[in-house]
Symmetry: C2
Subunit: 242 residues, 2 copies
């Protein structure tokens, strides 16, 4: 049976990929992906055929992968982080219904929350949630509701897609909603360019974060009521007595 | 400076570890961990010194790691999945305050939500949260509140530690709380023994899941209102038009 692997390559640096992901990319015929991610892996897998589509051409990218697999090639569709977290894995299964002769297998990777958490310290040790602030595919009202309820539940919150040119004030809006349930001095953090050149972690209070501009290559972490700063690291205790 | 790496080894199988994690384990002097996890990695890193403590001896395990590092050895403290998600990373930074001459670095890994999601298909494509049902270190009232608010927010919910001998009815209790906001036919799934021998994914409705017994090696996935079953896989759409 023809096969497509949907592979999360992790945050960016080659060594943050799983051994399995690297094996799949080494053994496939064609690697398909968003231009930026193909550029990240290209040098490590010489001799492969690379196919790309730009942003907002996700459906075409998936169809391209299935067409290549239907020709009998082994295909890897790559995503940054994990392909199952705001990645292509869902769309691949949906479009896969049209290609019953192609089998889809998902290969897990380190998503930005996990990769960025390791850079900051240990912010995600206890219950947490991931919320994307992008309202391209999700109504803003739904995002607002999730932010408010997550803050009320005292989850650690990790925000994906916190900003874009059109959505320059979304992080501020999100912080204002969270401030309805959490204090101004709540420990927060950001990580820019996780696992890539220019990686940088910064710790803020929630009030400071509200007044900070971040770019689209930044992942945002909002602590819970127990989160603290230890020696420059953002740490959420699990509750062990020490 | 003496150094301890807190390393997530992923779900279990060697190839699901990151390349970086394998490099750290290959280059360190001592590997410290819970007995079960040491047994998973031992054969791949011959010649290392291995130190273990049993469950509920987490504080002692961390202290042991710092004592070894203080002797000048390079130490790796391993956790299953990611060390920053219900793992040892938080406790290591907390105990690290007593050992100012030892530097702690966290190495990210694939946590059970991500690893198990890949086995089921793509359940975590959209906003989701992780909740542990273990009330050893967290009051049950707090867990209940998080379950209710997460269901109200229509998050996909991934449950860690869904059961133990003492907590045999906790999954049922959790499902009953979620049923206050979500329908009986909500798509759910479980994965047993992720990345290990006996790996097994099963899809349920929320009603069926409520009446199912799971063990402590199972990770539970509760869909959102959009989650569906495609060709035996649990898939949450992101919202692309196809």
């Amino acid at each position: 049976m023809n096969k497509i692997y949907v592979v999360g390559i992790g945050p960016g640096a080659y060594e943050k990929m799983t051994i399995q992901a690297a094996e799949v990319l080494k053994n496939c015929d064609v690697i398909v992906g968003y231009t930026v991610y193909i550029d990240l892996v290209k040098e490590h897998f010489p001799g492969k055929e690379f196919l790309t589509t730009p942003m907002k051409k996700e459906v075409q990218r998936c169809e391209m992968a299935f067409e290549e697999a239907a020709k009998g090639k082994t295909v890897a569709m790559i995503c940054s982080g994990d392909s199952g977290v705001y990645g292509m894995a869902g769309l691949m299964y949906e479009i896969g219904e049209r290609y019953p002769d192609v089998e889809v297998e998902t290969v897990a990777g380190v998503t930005a929350a996990i990769g960025g958490g390791a850079v900051l310290g240990a912010p995600l040790i206890h219950d947490f949630c991931l919320i994307s602030l992008s309202d391209l595919l999700t109504p803003w009202e739904k995002i607002e509701k999730r932010l408010k309820l997550a803050a009320e539940a005292d989850f650690v919150i990790c925000l994906y897609n916190p900003s874009s040119i059109k959505r320059h004030d979304y992080l501020q809006k999100a912080c204002d909603l969270i401030l309805q349930h959490q204090p101004e001095n709540l420990v927060c953090g950001t990580v820019e360019n996780i696992g890539r050149e220019g990686e940088k972690a910064t710790i803020y209070t929630l009030k400071e974060l509200r007044d900070t501009k971040v770019d689209m290559f930044t992942t945002v972490f909002i602590g819970n009521s127990q989160t603290k700063v230890i020696d420059g690291h953002m740490v959420t205790p699990r509750g062990y007595r020490i």
